[in-house]
């Protein structure tokens, strides 16, 4: 199915249509068939020269001319009427231009009505040439007769179909008299500019000029048949001119400044028209057939595959080098760097070995020899020991005592002496010891201490102590223990319900114990016991006794020395343990006290000597700096 493309609007129309559905432009004369293949698109847009000639022949037929006349839009007919009317009115005026004369020559009688037998050839050389050949009259007369018959139809058809000048020159219409003329004469007449200038305006095709060449017959008839619409428009009275209209209106008085701004009436308001005769004709698209316009060629709007652009970052060599350097730095940051290997024999290691030897040798010597030369500390000189001893000594026989093993194994060497002494005193007092702990290592330490203490004692261990185990929850667990120890620790480590048998069956709160002894090296744990348990113990006057390390003593002593005291007895460190053991009659020390004493002395000497050496070295360095 091929559609006919309208040459005016470029829209496709059915092939049986004679005029465009959209703009009512005629399709048969100048329309073209839509291309069926993309490759033949340009060839099919323009009709071939042969088709153009056929269309030109068809326009000369009266039947098709009437149909074309009906296809002329009203606006075009009105334009023709105005144009012809103005031409007739201006014919009376002097000084008309060449175009008006040519139009007059077409519409009115030819300019040479008298010489009817005279050929319409102005050139003398051509006239003489025709006389010599003897064909001038007959051919001119024949051509005039035929051309006068078809002049009217051809003229109208030519006005509705403005064919291009080039096509008309290449394909002149074949007429009957041209067949009788020699070929050279026909070409000569067609290409002669003199005839064309006289007969036709420049905008009309040559085919028309060949049909309107002046003949002796036309001039002899004296009057040419004028179409009815032309005669009507020519007989109409022309409208009044502008000058007549202006003369009826009184001229206004304009100010001088407005007169100065008034444009010159002699200058034409419109610019010069552009000569488009040399411009190209659009051969494709909706503007096909137009001259001097920009072609909307399909290739301009054809969708192409989008070009691929490289996503590779464009960087310079310097930038690339910097990026590589940054990447190398980041990679090195994540790699663990091994520490530089230190030499085995260095001044630092030597100095360390010297200190160890100086410190350990005296200690080892005192332990090996079992020296007991240094007098043991007096209990009265150690704060808290006497009170601690009194609290233990005043415990009733068989009283339940709560022991908290909350120290770490690393402090057993410092605290074991005091703890062992306490356990022995409680065993002597036949106290029933309930052991608890808030540290995971507490039960093991308690088991070790109790196993060492019951050596040589008769009777089963469960008769004088029970291990209730670990108190979970830290500070909250201590508060629960203070309120209800039976709820927090319902069973002992061996699975016995010790709260159902004596003497713990009488325990409902922590204040029901005869004493609470806390053994810890951590000042925070000691403070938790003091803060959570001590207030309830003070209600019934139950003593809170603490065995602690030397490092926790400065933080716990304020609770002991407070008035009223929150801790009723305190044994701190190795010195406190030794003093407490002496108060209960245990004077066996195996040289440890002498070792401790000489160790403290050596340590003080090391610190003192080191400080003096550091000061001297610094002074020497300052002296050197001053000298420099």
């Amino acid at each position: 199915m091929t559609d006919v493309i309208c040459p005016l609007c470029g829209k496709p129309n059915p092939p049986d249509r004679e005029e465009c559905l959209y703009c009512q432009a005629p399709l048969k004369a100048s329309g073209f068939v839509a291309p069926s293949e993309p490759g033949d698109e340009e060839n099919q847009l323009l009709p071939p020269s042969g088709e153009t000639g056929e269309a030109e022949e068809q326009t000369s037929q009266p039947a098709e001319a009437s149909s074309l006349e009906q296809a002329i839009p009203d606006w075009l007919k009105a334009t023709e009427a105005n144009f012809l009317g103005q031409s007739e009115s201006e014919q009376e005026k002097p000084g008309t231009d060449l175009v008006s004369e040519q139009i007059d020559s077409l519409l009115n009688q030819p300019s040479t009505p008298d010489s009817t037998n005279e050929p319409a050839i102005d050139d003398d050389w051509l006239a003489s040439l025709l006389e010599e050949t003897g064909i001038g009259e007959s051919s001119a007369t024949t051509s005039q007769e035929e051309s006068s018959e078809g002049q009217e139809d051809t003229f109208e058809a030519d006005k509705t179909e403005p064919f291009s000048e080039e096509l008309a020159q290449e394909e002149p219409p074949a007429s009957a008299d041209q067949a009788e003329k020699p070929e050279w004469l026909t070409n000569l007449e067609a290409t002669s500019p003199i005839k064309l200038d006289r007969v036709l305006p420049a905008s009309e095709p040559d085919g028309q000029s060949t049909g309107v060449v002046d003949t002796g017959e036309e001039t002899g008839s004296g009057e040419m048949e004028i179409p009815e619409w032309i005669a009507k428009s020519g007989s109409e009275v022309s409208p009044p001119s502008d000058k007549e209209a202006e003369s009826q209106i009184a001229p206004a008085e304009l100010p001088s400044w407005l007169e100065a701004l008034r444009p010159d009436e002699g200058v034409s308001p419109t610019g010069p028209l552009e000569d488009l005769s040399a411009a190209d004709i659009v051969t494709a698209g909706p503007l096909v057939g137009l001259r001097g316009v920009i072609s909307a060629h399909p290739s301009a709007i054809r969708a192409h595959k989008p070009p691929t652009y490289s996503i590779k970052l464009r960087v310079t060599e310097e930038q690339r080098a910097r990026v590589e350097m940054m990447e190398a730095l980041l990679a090195d940051e994540q790699k663990p760097k091994p520490l530089p290997a230190q030499p085995v024999i260095s001044s630092r290691n030597i100095f360390r070995l010297v200190i160890v030897v100086v410190l350990i040798l005296p200690i080892a010597w005192m332990i090996i020899t079992g020296s007991q030369r240094t007098p043991a500390p007096q209990p009265g000189n150690i704060p808290g020991v006497v009170d601690f001893t009194q609290q233990v000594q005043t415990l009733p026989i068989g009283a339940p005592v709560l022991l908290a093993f909350d120290y770490e194994a690393g402090f057993s060497g410092e605290m074991n002496l005091a703890i062992s002494t306490v356990i022995n005193q409680l065993i002597i007092k036949n106290a029933y010891m309930a052991i608890v702990t808030t540290t995971p290592a507490g039960p093991a330490l308690a088991e070790s201490i109790m196993r060492r203490a019951d050596t040589g004692l008769e009777g089963k261990p469960e008769t004088y102590y029970t291990d209730l185990g670990y108190i979970p929850g830290g500070t909250i667990g201590l508060l629960g223990l203070a309120n209800s120890p039976k709820t927090v620790l319902p069973y002992s480590l061996d699975g016995n319900n010790v709260w159902a048998v004596a003497p713990l069956n009488a325990i409902s709160s922590i204040k029901d114990f005869s004493a609470v002894i806390v053994m810890t090296n951590d000042p925070d744990i000691a403070r938790s016991w003091i803060e959570q348990v001590s207030p309830q113990l003070q209600v019934d006057g139950t003593p809170l006794l603490i065995v602690t390390s030397s490092q926790a003593e400065p933080l716990i002593r304020p609770y002991y020395e407070a008035t009223p005291s929150q801790v009723q007895g305190l044994v701190a460190g190795f010195v406190g343990g030794l003093a407490f053991s002496r108060t209960v009659g245990n004077i066996q020390q195996n040289g440890t006290w002498d070792a401790f004493s000489i160790g403290i002395t050596v340590s003080v000497l090391i610190i003192l000597i080191g400080s003096i050496i550091a000061v001297v070295l610094k002074m020497l360095a300052l002296g050197k700096l001053k000298e420099n």
């Binding site: 230190q342 085995v344 290691n349 360390r352 070995l353 160890v356 350990i360 200690i363 080892a364 332990i367 402090f411 060497g413 410092e414 995971p440 290592a441 039960p443 093991a444 185990g469 670990y470 979970p472 830290g474 500070t475 909250i476 508060l479 709820t487 319902p490 069973y491 002992s492 480590l493 699975g495 319900n497 090296n521 403070r527 938790s528 003091i530 803060e531 959570q532 001590s534 207030p535 030397s550 490092q551 003593e553 400065p554 933080l555 304020p558 609770y559 020395e561 407070a562 008035t563 009223p564 929150q566 460190g573 190795f574 195996n590 440890t592 070792a595 401790f596 160790g599 403290i600 340590s603």
Partner: protein, 240 residues
């Protein structure tokens, strides 16, 4: 057989203790393989013992055994106490385990908030009731004339002791006072001269306190060293 093993336990434990002690003391010559081998042994033994203790002492005897006893004996006496104390703890403990899953971690936040809030309340209440009020009262009564000794030589010592404690407490608290008086714009901000001197005195008390704490740590370490040396010598004497 068990008695034989029990008799060998002490010597074996003594030998192991001797070896481990030597391995730790080898750090005297610097970081070495023996020291690095002994440290994981201590950490692993302590962690394993703590895990067994919690499973055995807490979960078994404090959570499960009471239920079995109620079932086996049919005694409902302790059932109310168990239901009000143990069951909520078990529910909260299971609820807390949602923190192990990143997807369900936010569901365990209320339990964590509950524990944090209760713990903070317990610590604050204990600190106020057991430390702040008693210690403030004790500091106030240091120079109470009613508690003063009757003898003159003791009275001088009592007064000096009370004065040092009072001045030390006051100046130490002043040292941690960083407030300044509002100044006009452009006027340099300076601390009061009196407060500056008192703060310096408080700084001196703080230095002395830290020195005492360091001395206590050193004494504890020295005591541990003496105990280890004594242990080594006892072990040597025992087997040789």
């Amino acid at each position: 057989m068990l008695e034989r093993i029990g008799q060998l336990a002490d010597p074996i434990g003594a030998i192991i203790g001797f070896v481990l002690t030597v391995m730790v003391l080898s750090y005297i010559i610097g970081d070495n393989v023996l020291f690095r081998l002994a440290i994981p042994i201590f950490i692993g033994a302590a962690s394993g013992y703590a895990a067994v203790l919690i499973l055995y002492n807490v979960l078994w005897y404090q959570v499960l055994v009471p239920v079995f006893q109620v079932i086996t004996t049919g005694k409902m006496d302790n059932m109310l106490i168990y239901a009000t104390h143990v069951v909520p703890a078990v529910i909260l403990g299971i609820w807390m385990m949602t923190k192990m899953s990143p997807r369900l971690a936010r569901w365990g936040t209320p339990v964590l908030a509950f524990l944090t809030g209760v713990g903070a309340a317990t610590v604050i209440a204990g600190a106020v009731r057991g430390t702040i009020f008693p210690q403030v009262g004790a500091s106030v009564n240091l120079l109470n004339i009613r508690t003063a000794p009757s003898e003159l030589n003791e009275l001088v010592g009592w007064f000096i002791n009370g004065l040092v404690v009072l001045v030390g407490t006051a100046t130490t608290l002043i040292y941690f006072h960083f407030g300044i008086k509002r100044q006009e714009e452009g006027v340099p901000v300076t601390r009061s001269v009196v407060l500056g001197y008192l703060s310096t005195a408080g700084q001196g008390f703080i230095v002395v306190t830290l020195g005492v704490l360091f001395a206590g740590v050193y004494i504890a370490a020295l005591s541990a060293l003496i105990d280890r040396v004594s242990f080594l010598w006892d072990t040597i004497i025992r087997f040789f």
